[in-house]
């Protein structure tokens, strides 16, 4: 992107003002609505993703993650609201838009009889300016499997092939729908590394996941979806900071006690004065801020605040 995020402007008087220029948005969604029959899958979802950002959509199964992503990918129509993807209406899914996006679906198969290289070649042929097929195969770590047929690949290798096919058109925007579901921890870390390297190349990424550590590791910002509404959005640390809860853990008579409180100063004071008065030691006393997981569980367990 040739628009600098921060532009320094010197005034005639020598003062320096910082003007934060607007980074263009890759995706703008406002009041998105979608129903299947009588079920409202999305009830007014709004968010914006800046170019170059990794945005995570979190939520339990059935929250509306895949519906949101599939509307933006052009697979599904919307019943209400606005959506802009790279400046295009995804409902019309124009060819110019399809040239610039890459899609990794949650579930999809490929012809088992073509090789890894042939499959990449086939997809590269659909784009006007594809990346080099061999570079992409190297990037997703399938160099050794270049000439292997798709049916001989392991589950993790197939997911890497999916990613390779999404990258072969050299997309500006990448949709990853639960990209590491079913991965072992090693494969997950490798996938994370790959996604980080794509981000460093400037690719905007919309990621859905139900792994909180994945969102915390990869996403610049996250939105938590629940029952078709966004219940909270922000950077992972903002979300954690928003939480009023603090967790106090200690061991009493060998039994672990966990106390969650929104008034940690008072709780800690009462706990310690009680222990001092009784002349007891609070073994393994620990006061910790919630993790994203705690915040998430708190969020998906509570009522959505508003249609925003």
């Amino acid at each position: 992107m040739d628009v600098p995020q921060v532009r320094h402007v010197a005034t005639l008087l020598g003062h320096v003002a910082h003007i934060v220029s607007q980074v263009p948005s890759a995706i703008v969604v406002s009041e998105l609505r979608k129903s299947y029959g009588t079920t409202e899958a999305l009830r007014g979802v709004s968010f914006e993703i800046a170019e170059g950002e990794v945005f995570g959509v979190l939520g339990p199964n059935g929250a509306g993650k895949t519906t949101t992503v599939e509307i933006l990918e052009g697979y599904r129509g919307r019943d209400g609201g606005d959506a802009w993807v790279l400046g295009f209406d995804p409902g019309e899914s124009p060819r110019e838009l399809r040239e610039r996006i890459g899609v990794v679906l949650q579930q999809s198969e490929l012809s088992p009889l073509l090789t890894v290289r042939e499959t990449h070649e086939m997809f590269a042929g659909y784009y006007q300016r594809p990346r080099s097929v061999d570079d992409v195969i190297d990037l997703v770590g399938l160099a050794e499997k270049r000439n292997a047929r798709v049916k001989t690949l392991s589950g993790g290798q197939k997911r890497r092939l999916d990613l390779g096919l999404a990258l072969v058109g050299d997309p500006d925007l990448l949709f990853l729908d639960e990209p590491t579901t079913g991965f072992d921890p090693g494969a997950r870390r490798a996938a994370w590394e790959m996604i980080r390297s794509l981000r460093s190349l400037g690719t905007t990424i919309l990621l859905t996941t139900h792994y909180l550590d994945e969102a915390q590791q990869l996403a610049d910002r996250v939105a938590v979806l629940r029952d078709g509404l966004i219940v909270r959005q922000g950077t992972p640390s903002e979300l954690i900071g928003d939480s009023r809860l603090t967790e106090i853990r200690y061991r009493r008579d060998g039994v672990l006690a966990v106390l969650q409180t929104s008034d940690s100063t008072r709780a800690l004071h009462e706990l310690t004065s009680e222990a001092l008065a009784e002349g007891r030691e609070l073994d393994e006393l620990e006061v910790r801020r919630p993790t994203l997981e705690d915040v998430y569980l708190e969020l998906v367990g509570e009522e959505p605040e508003s249609a925003q």
Partner: protein
């Protein structure tokens, strides 16, 4: 145009690498021809049996390649998400479809050549009396049965069941229409059913071009019935065929 050839090349590659499908679609009609040709005697209705059967299996080949093969391919590709993924690429859906149809045409044209070669080799069967008409029959057969195949693919939602459904339709149709031998001894009910089937009329056209040296327009009724069936398939296909897999 280059994207079309690109996709056609890969479709052909995928087809020939899939041994089971290639056997079902390509080898089976040849095998049946070899078997039936060895069983039937000299003449069927005064025409050399090897010629009648060649025409019959040409018709069966058109149905099994274009209708059966295409329906199976499309249902499996749709239900496993292959079509859905292609839909998000810049490849135009029409280009993808035309490539799939052309690939079917290439396969069936090769099938027709193989039938002629086998007939020549095993039974000294006749060569087409009207080559141009014969080529026209190849295109007509693929057009009609491919339309029916896509229509069937639009209605069949199960990748596991598609092959069984397709065979339950095609094999009895081929039997009743006379692909596997004469039908004039069949009960009237079966003959009545045969009288509405597209393959019956397609075979009339094939006999005409292959043996009598007629054009494919020689029997307008037959041509109209074949085209009407194709149009019906195309209407169902256009109205009902989707790219997305069934919701799970």
């Amino acid at each position: 145009m280059s994207t079309l050839l690109h996709q056609l090349r890969f479709d052909q590659k995928i087809f020939w690498r899939n041994r089971e499908a290639a056997v079902f679609v390509f080898v089976f009609p040849l095998l049946l021809y070899a078997l039936l040709g060895s069983v039937y005697g000299d003449l069927i209705d005064g025409v050399p049996a090897e010629d009648v059967l060649l025409a019959g299996l040409f018709g069966y080949g058109a149905a099994t390649t274009a209708m059966g093969g295409l329906a199976i391919t499309l249902v499996i590709r749709r239900e496993t998400g292959v079509l859905k993924r292609v839909r998000s690429t810049p490849l135009a859906p029409a280009t993808y479809f035309v490539a799939v149809l052309l690939s079917t045409l290439v396969t069936f044209a090769l099938e027709a050549v193989a039938l002629l070669a086998l007939g020549r080799l095993l039974f000294r069967a006749s060569m087409p009396a009207n080559w141009l008409g014969f080529a026209g029959a190849i295109v007509l057969g693929v057009a009609c049965f491919a339309a029916l195949g896509v229509g069937a693919a639009a209605l069949i939602r199960s990748a596991e069941g598609v092959s069984a459904v397709v065979n339950v339709v095609i094999l009895p149709m081929a039997f009743l229409s006379g692909s596997f031998g004469p039908t004039n001894e069949f009960p009237a009910v079966l003959q009545a059913i045969a009288n509405v089937l597209p393959l019956t009329y397609f075979l009339d056209i094939v006999y005409g071009v292959y043996l009598a040296g007629e054009s494919i327009y020689a029997d307008p009724t037959a041509l109209l019935v074949v085209l009407a069936w194709g149009a019906a398939g195309a209407v169902v296909a256009l109205r009902r065929f989707g790219w997305m897999p069934r919701e799970r």
